[in-house]
Amino acid sequence: MADYDPILSVRNLRTEFSGGRGDVRVLDDVSFDVGRGKIIGLVGESGSGKSMTALSLMGLVPKPQGRVNAGSILLDGTEISKLDAAGMRRIRGRDIAMVFQEPMTSLNPVRRVWEQVGEPLAIHKGLGRSAIRKRVLEMFEMVGIPEPQTRLDAYPHQLSGGLRQRAMIAMGLICEPKLLIADEPTTALDVTTQAQILRLMRDLRDRVGTSIILITHDLGIIAEMCDEVNVMYAGQMVEQANVFDLFENPSHPYTRGLLASIPRATEARVARRMPSIPGMVPNLAKLPPGCRFAPRCRDAMPTCQRPPDLETVGTGHVARCWLHAGQTALQSEATR
């Protein structure tokens, strides 16, 4: 652990939104690391805070209602959470890039694709048009866009969803960032295209060595792609483990619920939204006093009225659940 040197290290991140009825904490004490050349998964239902984590890292939390209020974000050893707007702009697109969920709407419809994909080069490297065009062409080849030469001058609506997402990935990687955040990059795509895009991202990681944060609600994708997994629920980390531990020994009831709801191949079309956990993600403005998952948890017990901490389950495996603090706590109470 001593020479462990992550590319990104997030500690105690807290992001809040002020609304009509007081402040809402959308991220509460979020900590995790991204190892160099690793693919890290952020998983959870919608509303769990995974996208907000990405926006907090990017400094793109919607202003003026939202702001990052506490915590530290070390990117390659440099603290970036205290940077001002201009400093953050220099990081965005150059050191951290992001691929969004909707390739259909994430590209500007009235500008040619190559201008948009190459724009980070103009912003961060000050390259001229012909140099940018050349580089975009290389990137198009790298991300496997067929007939790249003719696609350069296309408008977004002339490309299929899969090609647009490839273009988005090319845009993200064009400045060779230290970290790529992919927020549900395949959710809007059909199943075959989904597999191609995922394979592309893994290949790029292997070839270029980019570290990737992959945000998804789909544990199938996590199993296929990730090295480490962070499970989020209601703005908190509830379980963190490497991918093998997580699938072999899921320790938080929420994770178990998620795993139980992975659709089998035959059900893939009907069951994509994890129906097997009853209830809904709680309103962040009206959280239960103790464990946030307790109202939906099959294993809930009286202790769950108090907020649990992250407890160590195994090596590098933690879970925020009384079940695992349980034994020691109960034993100490019994001996008293």
Partner: protein
């Protein structure tokens, strides 16, 4: 693109025919005999009867309408009763003045409206935003004839910087263009603001931010072009508003344009002239709408592609 334009023109033909019909019926059921009015006391009943026959005024309405339509297609809008000259000549002579006024006014409205709209959207919900929008509302709420009088009073009568009225050079155009442009600047700025705000919520704006663009870059490179597309098309539709406004502006500033012809035609009960002038204005509005549609497709590659598919 050509196909699209052609189709749009074809679609506007029934609208145009309908309008001429409505116009013709409205103007030709007017009580009072235009010929008797024209001849006043000079004409004996026999003379009036002869002239009526010459002008086919005793034919059925539909025959007269078809004849009017046929003549209009050949550029003949009849003869002014009062001025005894071809209506087409009178209108074509006046039109350049109206055109110049409209173009200058449009420029004024864009130069005031677009920057205010952008400023307002960028500084949304601040004091500046409210100030700009209040300013715009002021523009929309001022009657043209009143702001014209006000400017005449201040700049021409009191400060003597500009001529009060008439039309003998560009200095005569300043106040009318300001008055008319100001009246539609409010609409332009409100539209620019809401359009820009809408675009700023879209996903690709977030993408642009994620690339490291600053707020100014996001707006100029990504938001503005999209946001201004509806504004540009409104500009072409603006023709109708500018023409209505030109009637009043020309009347107040004594500019010999189509608008003043219309007002004069009404006060002298010169039916052919009024009919010609209104028809002319309507054709202009339809042309404006046509230009708006085509402009829209030129500016937005998505619409362009869709058109290609349809054509």
């Amino acid at each position: 693109m050509l196909m699209f334009a052609l189709r749009r023109i074809l679609v506007s033909i029934p609208v145009l025919i309908g309008i001429t019909l409505i116009l013709f019926i409205m103007l030709n059921v007017v009580p009072g005999d235009p010929i008797a009015l024209m001849m006043k006391e000079h004409g004996s009943p026999e003379v009036i009867e002869r002239v009526r026959a010459q002008m086919h005024l005793d034919d059925p309405l539909i025959t007269r309408y078809l004849r009017f339509l046929w003549d209009a297609l050949h550029g003949d809008l009849g003869t002014s009763i009062k001025l005894n000259r071809p209506v087409t000549d009178l209108i074509l002579k006046a039109f350049p003045n109206t055109l110049m006024l409209a173009v200058c006014a449009a420029l004024v409205s864009w130069l005031i409206g677009i920057p205010i709209g952008i400023l307002s959207a960028v500084r949304r919900d601040t004091f500046l935003d409210r100030f700009c929008m209040g300013f715009s509302l002021l523009g929309v709420s001022m009657p043209i004839f009143w702001s014209a009088l006000l400017l005449q009073y201040v700049f021409a009568m009191k400060l003597k910087l500009l001529p009060v009225s008439g039309f003998y050079g560009w200095r005569y155009m300043v106040l009318p263009a300001l008055v008319l442009g100001w009246s539609s600047a409010g609409v332009i700025s409100r539209l620019t603001r809401s359009s820009l705000l809408e675009v700023m919520r879209l996903d690709y704006i977030r993408t642009a931010r994620a690339k490291g663009l600053g707020e100014a870059g996001v707006i100029t490179r990504h938001a503005l072009k999209n946001a201004l597309i509806p504004v540009v098309t409104i500009m072409a539709i603006q023709v109708a508003g500018l023409l209505s406004g030109a009637v009043i502006t020309e009347a107040i500033f004594s500019i010999p344009g189509v608008g003043r012809i219309t007002v004069n035609a009404i006060s002298s009960r010169d039916m052919p002239l009024l009919q010609g002038a209104v028809l002319f204005a309507t054709v202009l509005v339809i042309l404006g709408n046509l230009v708006a549609d085509i402009l829209y497709s030129v500016l937005d590659p998505r619409i362009r592609a869709q058109m290609k598919k349809e054509a």
